[in-house]
Symmetry: C2
Subunit: 560 residues, 2 copies
């Protein structure tokens, strides 16, 4: 079915081709544009926008299956119209955005089903089991690893979490909140904030992602140094699986055998659908302070971050840009003209010219404790030559902390290739892993006259290691999709040999699936297969995510 | 084979009937004895000591299996003599001690095998698979839940971890240590201490337990409020399984699917044998302070501990005794005579007479930070009426922190029944769980003229809840074993309905196995079975631990 200009209102086109329209439009300033053009050149092809018509294949859902789904959730909650299906297909990776901007509707679901209770999810899964319909759970749809992309060959539905978005209970005494999975970050923080609490989980996808998605993908937010990963926050989950209701997790801790909660976290919809989750919450901090600083080099900054982490002196946010990201940040949103000259002179005098930008966010229950911790941290930072840039830089970062995806829209509009990837390793491997990853990007993309710009930051700092997060910008053009696809393979292949994980917080999805075996071994894959066979014997749950579909794949675990 | 007085030297009898002989003998002081007799009465039967002869069944290991084991590890490392087998049977529960003191040799292994490498462990497991010999991994042998007890009906060996006790590598930069599983707590702390590090894992079994045992049972130490549980410290493990080598865990964190490390932690030897473990270590604290305090009531103390945990103000150790344990502690090791009268008067004036003793242990990287955190904590404690008792009480606790098991030896010598159990729950349930557990002890044991003394403390404090640890003392007598067995069933049955876990850090073993299903559900049991079938298809690994042996057992996971 062809959807034409009448149905494709600008608002609708925005909804599926962009992260969103921010209240203040994100444009590239003159200096930012100059910076980019000087490094990667002028982009020429504006990512094939505007989309004016899309050909959407008809739903292939068999009549009896449709009837059974309607019986399970009600006639208004099974949607087979093309627009609903369009809006519940694909995630938010660069390739997803590119596909949308070229009206590629591959893998669009055959229906969108919107259950409102755990029992309705169970009922839907039973229908899908009976008719061998594959199921993609769809929360915020912000996966960047093809985690919500249906395999094109199978009949499948998206299960929307839209109607499963309630707060169930807040146990203020224990600091525990029970929620349904479809609640978004902002909505949860709003409800918690009214009651004096915060979850403190703030991934860059915060405005759109859902709590169920956080848990299913083991996400980590920008304040993970203080609040921990979602794995640290999640205390228990209820999962609707094709064989029934599975509850896992014990509050606050237990030694009653293996902790099966950690099978549900990171299961990415391949075992079942999380329908309820209990999270640790914290009291709203009474004192906070965000500040900027400059390390003489990225290497010195890494050492300083390591020291803070190992001494227990990180704040909520600790984020260190490499020299490339620092230069780009300053070009994008730093001082201009004479102010910039004065700023550069100051940095040079303090011996941090061309340095590495550090963002420190402090949140504590009292100003006295904040000061004590911050003083102790600054004693450490000074030893590594780190220089304070004051509160303004920190506050500015805080205000633009969710701007990245909007900026990507703007860069896509301008015809640029822009994508991110991330990894993590123990501290002793971080510097070499950083170089290996940068080398792989250049090897893959610095060809045919291209000069990709690679920048990175260290965030999600742990006592034993850290995450490195990379952003790549290159000229786009008609071959940008295939070029990135190939580059992604080269880059992914470089991370594990350098001691990095294939993903620190983006998840496996379909994009990272080929590297999972190297990550967890043949026996690990065998365990995941055994667990999936137990919970999802007919292999209907998010096929191709985590594991290759049965029969297409990995050899059995080796007998050593 | 009967082992008589010639072989049973006093030293050997000590080794299998006691926790140990401390450098300073633990005796009950006059006031302590009076306290005990006034409450539980005089014990009469001195636990059937002394043991002068033991009848040890011959090894039933088939000749070819013995040959194959010898081929795997060498002739000197396969022991079938009665004494070696005796010393590698059973754990350290009250019932284990009672069995030993009555020369009960049920479940003694048919051989003790001592591999020295991961590959030797793999080879031993292959032999055991071939001959269907069951395997009990044996580290420190300190299980209190029958976790190292072989089922009497099967031929089986104990695999001693004695020769797998080396430090493999210390990565000082990343704060990571790789060790073999057989290393003991004191040995590891000694090696780390020389290099300026500490693991900070100090369970009461620290002097005897091994690191592999910590990991296999999800143990938590006395300093868990500051250093975390072993689950927090363990970063990765290598496991020898009957199907080969399984490695799990990613440093420092990963979103590459479910975290299978959490299947190895808590696996209690039922899936394989941990042969290598990488642990987060911390720098030796530069400032430390242990102190005592008194809360007006246990309830007020619980509230104070909760507040500290939720404000992030716990030290390394936070331990709150209930009124009963406080009274017993004071009788056992508090001031006596006039000093006691003055002490009591002081407590009464400060309104904490008959209160609840609190131990606070602070360990930080600087005195300034210690003071800042401690000041903030005391601001909280004062709000709950907590009164300082100064450093002496804290230091005394610290010096006697491993005394419990020696004291148990003394009480057993005196003919008392003495055992502990533990649970955990979210803060809102802690008070009722405490009452429910106490009620169950009284229901089970306060019969036939018995007046059991029950005391408890809260330790292992989390933001969302806490562990409650109970000690029960009663008169012993010839029926003490069966009485406790029955009481244990009653008590265990009371914990989960009150919202508690069946075990916070002792593990499942064989003793808690009947309650695992209520803990993790039918689907959870099904998952454990599927995982065991994958890793241990012939069911040779520690049978009866975690899961009932196949075919004797739980119904399949219900279809909901």
């Amino acid at each position: 079915m062809t959807v034409g200009p009448d149905a494709l209102t600008p608002d609708l086109v925005d909804r599926f081709t962009r992260w969103g329209r921010p209240s203040t439009p994100v444009t590239l300033s003159g200096p930012a544009q100059e910076f980019l053009e000087a490094r990667v050149g002028m982009a020429t092809v504006a990512s094939n926008l505007p989309v004016t018509q899309i050909c959407i294949p008809d739903s292939r859902l068999p009549g009896p299956a449709l009837d059974a789904l309607v019986a399970a959730v009600g006639v208004t909650q099974v949607l087979i119209d093309p627009i609903s299906r369009l809006l519940h297909s694909r995630g938010m990776s660069y390739l997803d955005m590119l596909a949308r901007r070229t009206a590629d509707t591959n893998g669009i679901p055959d229906a969108v089903v919107k259950p409102a209770t755990h029992d309705e999810v169970l009922a839907v899964l039973q229908v899908c089991t009976r008719y061998r319909i594959c199921v993609v759970p769809f929360g915020g749809g912000t996966s960047v690893v093809a985690g919500v992309t249906r395999p094109a060959e199978a009949i499948g539905i998206a299960i929307s979490m839209e109607r499963l978005g309630a707060l169930i209970a807040l146990d203020a005494l224990s600091g525990l909140v029970r929620v349904q999975p479809g609640i978004s970050g902002p909505e949860l923080e709003r409800i918690l904030g009214e009651r004096g609490f915060t979850l403190g989980h703030l991934p860059q996808s915060w405005e759109r992602a859902t709590v169920g998605g956080y848990a299913a993908t083991r996400s980590a937010g920008q304040a993970s140094s203080g609040y921990g990963r979602i794995d640290d926050m999640a205390q228990s989950v209820t999962v609707a699986t094709p064989i029934g209701t599975w509850s896992a997790g014990r509050v606050p801790a237990s030694a009653a055998g293996p902790d099966l909660l950690h099978l549900a976290l990171g299961s990415e919809g391949a075992f079942g659908i999380i329908t309820e989750i209990t999270l640790r919450v914290r009291r709203t901090p009474k004192a906070s302070r965000y500040e900027g600083a400059m390390a003489p080099t990225f290497a010195a900054g890494i050492s300083a971050c390591r020291e803070l982490a190992q001494l227990g002196l990180t704040g909520s946010v600790l984020r260190l840009s490499d020299e490339s990201e620092t230069a780009a940040s300053l070009a994008m949103s730093g001082p201009t003209g004479l102010k910039r000259k004065l700023f550069d002179r100051y940095l040079a005098v303090r011996k941090v010219g061309q340095g590495a930008l550090l963002i420190l966010g402090w949140e504590e229950q009292s100003a006295a404790l904040l000061d004590a911790r911050r003083d102790a941290a600054w004693n450490v930072l000074k030893k590594f030559g780190v220089v304070s840039l004051g509160k303004g830089v920190g506050t500015a970062w805080r205000h633009s902390r969710y701007a990245g995806p909007y900026l990507r829209d703007t860069l896509l509009d301008g015809g640029y290739l822009v994508e991110t990837f991330e990894t993590a390793a123990s501290w002793n491997l971080v510097p070499d892993l950083y170089e290996a990853a940068r080398g792989a990007v250049h090897q893959a993309l610095a060809t045919g006259g291209h000069t990709p710009y690679v920048m990175a930051h260290v965030s999600h700092v742990y006592e034993t290691g850290a995450c490195i997060y990379f952003t790549v910008i290159d000229r786009g053009g008609p071959e940008a999709g295939p070029r990135w696809r190939e580059a992604k393979t080269t880059i992914s292949g470089a991370l594990q040999p350098a001691g990095g994980t294939i993903t620190h917080h983006h998840g496996i999805g379909r994009d990272h699936q080929p590297w999972l075996r190297a990550e967890i071994g043949g026996i690990g894959i065998g365990l995941l297969r055994a667990i999936k066979a137990e919970l999802d014997p007919d292999q209907i749950m998010n096929p191709g995510v985590l594991l290759r579909p049965a029969g297409t794949g990995d050899p059995p675990a080796a007998i050593v």
